[in-house]
């Protein structure tokens, strides 16, 4: 297997007596979708936050493209190529769709500190933003204010903003959340092609999407990875069946 883009080595995090992450080591290799599943409260969000830089692990390391980024904050990790989408859309609701995408493109360009040029006239950044919007199918909504978008369109915009960063790895926290059947199907199709741009660490509750997309699945229960493997392996793993799928082994 190729060298991983993103790795965690023995990440642990406790909140008082609650061990949210116990010695977690997972990785993400080029071209794959690695799904992270687990029941509510298993520690998926805590793990994502430690990978993205919002939380510091008590122990362990996070490696991005060969570089130890454990000590870096969210901003620095984003600059080094981590593209994240949120479970609950984190978008500038008063701004237009294009402005949200431009924010990503401007951030990626590393030149947000221009004070007198018009943001929307920045040709390079604008091209990046428009291309990302086209990829997710929001071209017609560019001038729409974000709060006027449907829930599904906001999910698409989340992905588009991450795309503008041309990241080395995507972290997507429940991108399908709240999408209807049609929306899930479309986004599943899109993510399927996106893995070739950059690998995706996917946290998702929609099992149809996970089974359709994932090259590998890691199952997290009570802060521990109890299994990692292909869809088939994980489906047939007795520990997973007991702990997660709720079946008698």
């Amino acid at each position: 297997m190729a060298d991983p883009i993103l790795e965690t080595h023995g990440i642990s995090k406790a909140f008082g007596a609650l061990h949210a992450s116990k010695d977690i080591s997972i990785d993400l290799v080029p071209g794959e979708i690695h799904a992270l599943i687990g029941p509510n409260g298993a520690g998926k969000s805590t793990l994502i936050q430690q990978i993205a830089g919002a939380l510091k692990p008590d122990a362990g390391r996070v490696i991005l493209d060969g570089e130890d980024v454990t000590a870096l904050n969210t901003v620095a990790r984003a600059q080094r190529g981590l593209g994240r989408t949120f479970q609950i859309s984190a978008l500038a609701m008063e701004d237009t769709v294009l402005e949200n995408a431009m924010l990503g493109a401007i951030g990626a360009s590393g030149k947000p500190f221009h004070f007198f040029r018009r943001a929307l006239d920045q040709a390079e950044a604008r091209a990046v933003a428009e291309q990302a919007l086209e990829q997710v199918g929001l071209t017609e909504n560019m001038a729409t204010r974000t709060f006027e978008l449907s829930h599904g369109q906001r999910r698409q915009l989340e992905v588009a903003v991450a795309l503008t960063l041309s990241p080395k790895a995507f972290i997507m926290d429940e991108p399908m959340a709240g999408l209807g059947f049609e929306g899930s199907k479309n986004l599943t199709g899109f993510l399927d092609t996106l893995r070739h741009t950059a690998p995706i660490l996917l946290v998702e509750h929609d099992m149809d999407a996970v089974f359709a997309l994932a090259d590998r699945i890691s199952v997290l229960v009570y802060g521990e990875v109890i299994a990692t493997g292909s869809v088939e392996e994980v489906r047939n793993d007795p520990a997973v069946r007991t702990a997660y799928l709720g079946e008698e082994a």
């Binding site: 984190a90 401007i106 951030g107 030149k111 947000p112 500190f113 221009h114 007198f116 943001a119």
Partner: protein, 327 residues
């Protein structure tokens, strides 16, 4: 032309026509009133960058207003006493040149904003309000207990400072200076709001985590915005002191911070012309109601209550509709 632009243009026309009328009618007091409104508007435009664009509710902008005022007072008082500020190791003399005073005011208030911002911006919400208030009060009490520059009594400057080629004691000429500066700052502010920096700052107000996730530090954005904001309010302070030919600790008091904030809220937070409309209305009310009762602030309070409860976009919001931003 959007409705907001029309409201803005109307406001500008009033600010041109009214002083010209007063000048023709030989009403110097009215010109001075308009000058006061324009200078206070400038202070509000400064605060609006922090408050409207950056979402930083600063109750300490009197600090920058006062520093600008004292920059003028210190430089001009040394000039009028022919007493250098510093003799060794090198000579610094006072001055009564407005451009030098403005530059000093901008630099001094900018440095203060940078220092105060660097600490305050680590906090949010009520803590940010309290910490900016605390810094403002620190400077207020410092000024009161600083006998070299008048202490509690303040500093009087006998003659208005000079601007090359103009007679600054002529009210209409001084008005022209203040109005030109306001227009220039409005143009810069409008550009700032539309720039990549403005876009990111505005986004950080709405969703901090998103801005971090695209690799931009919200702290840095806010600190720069706060500094620019302080510089503009400081410049307004220098002009205000020059208008009155007097500077006192009152300029640094928290009531002054509150008034600057009232201009912004009255006119419309995050609206380019919000503070301008707010300051003009404030001066108008002060002049009209102040003549009726010493307690005119009661009516101002009632108006503010109505605005906050029913018109969150301020007067501009009422006139131009809610959604348009920075026309």
């Amino acid at each position: 032309m959007t409705r907001e632009r029309m409201v803005n243009a109307a406001m500008l026309l009033i600010l041109i026509a009214f002083p010209l009328w007063a000048w023709a009618a030989d009403e110097p007091f009215m010109i001075t009133l308009a000058t006061k409104a324009v200078i206070l508007a400038l202070a509000g435009v400064g605060l609006n960058i922090a408050l409207g664009l950056g979402g930083m509710i600063s109750l300490g902008h009197a600090a920058f207003f006062g520093i600008g005022g004292y920059a003028m007072g210190v430089l001009a008082s040394h000039a009028q006493n022919f007493d250098p500020i510093l003799e060794g190791p090198f000579l610094i003399e006072g001055t009564n040149s407005m451009p030098i005073i403005w530059l000093t005011a901008i630099i001094a208030s900018g440095l203060a904003a940078l220092a105060i911002g660097a600490i305050s911006i680590r906090t949010t919400g009520a803590y940010f309000i309290m910490i900016t208030l605390a810094f403002g009060q620190m400077l207020f009490f410092f000024a009161i207990s600083w006998p070299a520059y008048g202490g509690e009594d303040g500093l009087s400057i006998w003659v208005r400072n000079e601007f090359p080629g103009l007679n600054t004691l002529d009210p209409i000429q001084f008005y022209a200076i203040a109005f030109t500066i306001l227009c220039a700052v409005l143009i810069l502010t409008a550009r700032l709001a539309k720039s990549p920096f403005g876009l990111a700052l505005n986004a950080a107000r709405q969703t901090e985590i998103r801005v971090e996730t695209v690799g931009i530090s919200p702290y840095k954005l806010r600190l720069i915005a706060f500094t620019i904001s302080g510089m503009i309010t400081g410049l307004a302070g220098a002009l205000f002191a020059d208008l009155n030919r007097f500077v006192s600790p009152t300029m640094l008091s928290w009531q002054t911070s509150g008034e600057i904030m009232i201009f912004v809220i009255l006119g419309g937070v995050a609206r380019l012309f919000g503070p301008v409309v707010g300051a003009v209305l404030f001066i108008l009310l002060e002049h009209l109601l102040g003549g009726i009762s010493d307690y005119w602030h009661i009516y101002l309070g009632a108006l503010l209550l109505v605005i906050v409860l029913f018109a969150r976009g301020g007067i501009i919001g009422v006139l131009a509709g809610r959604e348009a931003k920075h026309g």
